[in-house]
Subunit: 228 residues, 4 copies
DNA sequence: CATGAATGAGAGTTCATTCAT
DNA sequence: TATGAATGAACTCTCATTCAT
């Protein structure tokens, strides 16, 4: 218990995470696909009923396998959790990689990030990463998860810092700005409903606008207000 | 289980919630304070280890009472949860009430809300409301909690709509804007650490700025930049 | 626990039981009536939900008193049970006393008993005596209850033996005959519904006929007897 | 809770019950016999200490398994109860089937039923069916049990009605007659002791005689009595 | 007398996990 | 490789009973 040596040792960065995924692909296809099927089912159920309230028996039943069979693919319930987490994180990391590589001003990168990130919340694994509350984890895993999250966060901060440097973003605390953006985006995972009236695209656009330009009315209006 | 008739019938609005609190005060002090002590202890533990992972035995132990004694004050574990939730919600509702009453343009009200709300996350009950994930709840309570949350959300939307009308806020979808703001703020509950370098005030100020004015560096608008 | 010294020492016969009742009447009216109110409420609930499944809290609530108040009138939950039992038994004993005193042939007495007994099952206490299964009792009380029941049984047997002696009842094993009659009657408590189509009188008459004359159609015998 | 879908859907008639039993036999022997062992142990304990007062821990202990192991075979404590009930009921239904098929006058069939039924009370499951008081059941199961009982009852009534039609039974209310017989028989479960002086055969014979011919002395005797 | 509060001793049930086959 | 069975450890909740006030 407690310490869960996550497949081949601790993962220390999102880069490793992605690397992990390719190594993963070399496994026997059969076993591999079953593993993934388990994760897909599990993550859906975790999102619906929370990790703690989802018994492995239910996961097994839904997959039409037996409970101990799960233990062939995963050491623990927590390993399933962590693997879901990791898959979701890889998605986010990938998106960030692409954006970082763009040759555009910081603000545009941030806007691109907002769009990409918003898209991720439609995907179960992405949502899961965002919704998982640390308090649900045993202290062993908690540290790992926190590290993962911090990693993502720092990369967003870098984007913002870049923008401040190139002047596309006004002077601000990159840390707090990153938190604000991440928060607004993460919260989407809480209220978004696929069947709802808003498309992911619409949400992404509006959020990019609000977060980069703010709520405040047009300069004119503001100017007037100020002079008044 | 499922329906938990929460002290004196179901509460249908945040207004009622606040009213409830005063009725509360008329109770015998002794019993009252013990009830509150339970809630204070419980909410702390729920924040730390999550509701599901906090056995009532631990709560009782911390309070130095026996487990069944808890059942004198609450019907269920879930009623404890809901009561914590309600207390937290009352705080938020109160803040909103005050702000709504202000005689200021919508944007200023929103900024005030951001400040007030940010302050709430230092308080356990406030944090708890924000952090509680619906998936942890049984479907019976889930509906109630969702209603509470929606209530708060709609009031923030009204503030924004007000701002749009009076021109202090530029044209935008009040629903999405409210989500963006709520998200950014709620997320604070996730990363804020009392012992950390940032004071609540600092966070509040910077968030108010970012969310109302956006990230974009508008050198002109903000001064000469634009005309240049 | 276990041994329940039933008010003023063990009761050894139905005679004592009845005697007990009058002594009882000398008590302070107030206390007395409350005691009885408790028993009336309790017996109803025991009939409805069984003794084991009826918490004293429910009894208290229905009476609008507090739980510990019950302990002013009764030592135990089991004492309440036993007192209900005793009251019911007194009714039966009384009926038997009256019948025994009649100056009629045994068969007629048995028929009278059947009528009287049938009437008792409309009364909660009577029903309770009949329905109470020994297995619900702790071994301490079980012995007492068994003794009570045996007492009643033996008196019915005496009635039958009388009948055999005076020729009104054909030769049979009085013990088994008593069991058959008692069984048929007791079972009424199981299926009788006050709101049902059959009146207690109808049931009593038909039972008296069936049990004394049997089912067999004896056209000849009966016809002759009647015409004679 | 409440509704307990008992193995392969709800059973609606005693006929189905018997069918159920054969399907039952096709199961893997091992699991099957263990299931039965549990029921055998449980029913004995329920008879001895009543259902409510028999903790599953005691049942498990007697079987030398652990408490949760019981949950492999049964969903609930109540499912164990119901299964015991069902097994007992199947016995009764079987007996009734055989008797119904006989080519004899109604009175003879009733006598045969009395004999068969009396024999059933030596068997734990049979006794249990008879002794179980509805008040011990949760309302969910209560309805099912009541239906089962009614079924049996109606079949006995049919036998009596048959007898009335063919003249072997005198005119009477079949419903009440059935209740009288059932009651007398059921009561046996209450007082019968295997170690006692009476054999089941003796009881059966005497009951058949009393219930079909009544207590009343020979016609001659009666004639005399009346003329006197 | 009566009550609010507290408690000890379970009871039923759940569930992650292991093991023989 | 996969499964049925079993288990230990909890956990929530109940309830008869007592005690200070």
């Amino acid at each position: 218990m407690g310490k869960i040596p996550v497949r081949a040792g601790p993962v220390n960065s999102t880069a490793e995470l992605v690397g992990h995924r390719t190594a993963f692909a070399n496994r026997r296809r059969d076993s591999d696909s079953k593993r993934e099927a388990i994760l897909h089912t599990a993550v859906k159920m975790f999102l619906d009923k929370s990790y703690s309230r989802t018994p492995l028996a239910d996961v097994a039943e839904q997959l039409k396998i037996t409970k101990p069979a799960l233990y062939h693919y995963f050491r623990n319930k927590e390993e399933i959790l962590l693997e879901c987490y990791r898959l979701g994180l890889a998605l986010i990391a990938e998106a960030l990689d692409e954006i970082t590589a763009l040759d555009r001003p910081g603000l545009a990168k941030v806007a691109a990030f907002i769009r990409a990130y918003t898209n991720l919340i439609t995907i179960d694994f992405g949502r899961f990463v965002i919704r998982l509350d640390e308090s649900e984890l045993s202290s062993g895993v908690r540290a790992q998860v926190r590290k993962f999250k911090r990693e993502i966060d720092h990369r967003l901060r870098s984007l913002i810092a870049e923008g401040i440097e190139d002047g596309s973003i006004g002077p601000c605390d990159p840390k707090l700005a990153a938190f604000a953006i991440a928060g607004a985006l993460n919260w989407i995972a809480t209220w978004y409903e696929p069947a709802g009236p808003l498309t992911v695209e619409e949400i992404a656009s509006e959020f990019a606008r609000i977060l980069t330009q703010g709520l405040a009315g047009k300069p004119a209006g503001r100017a007037k207000g100020k002079s008044a």
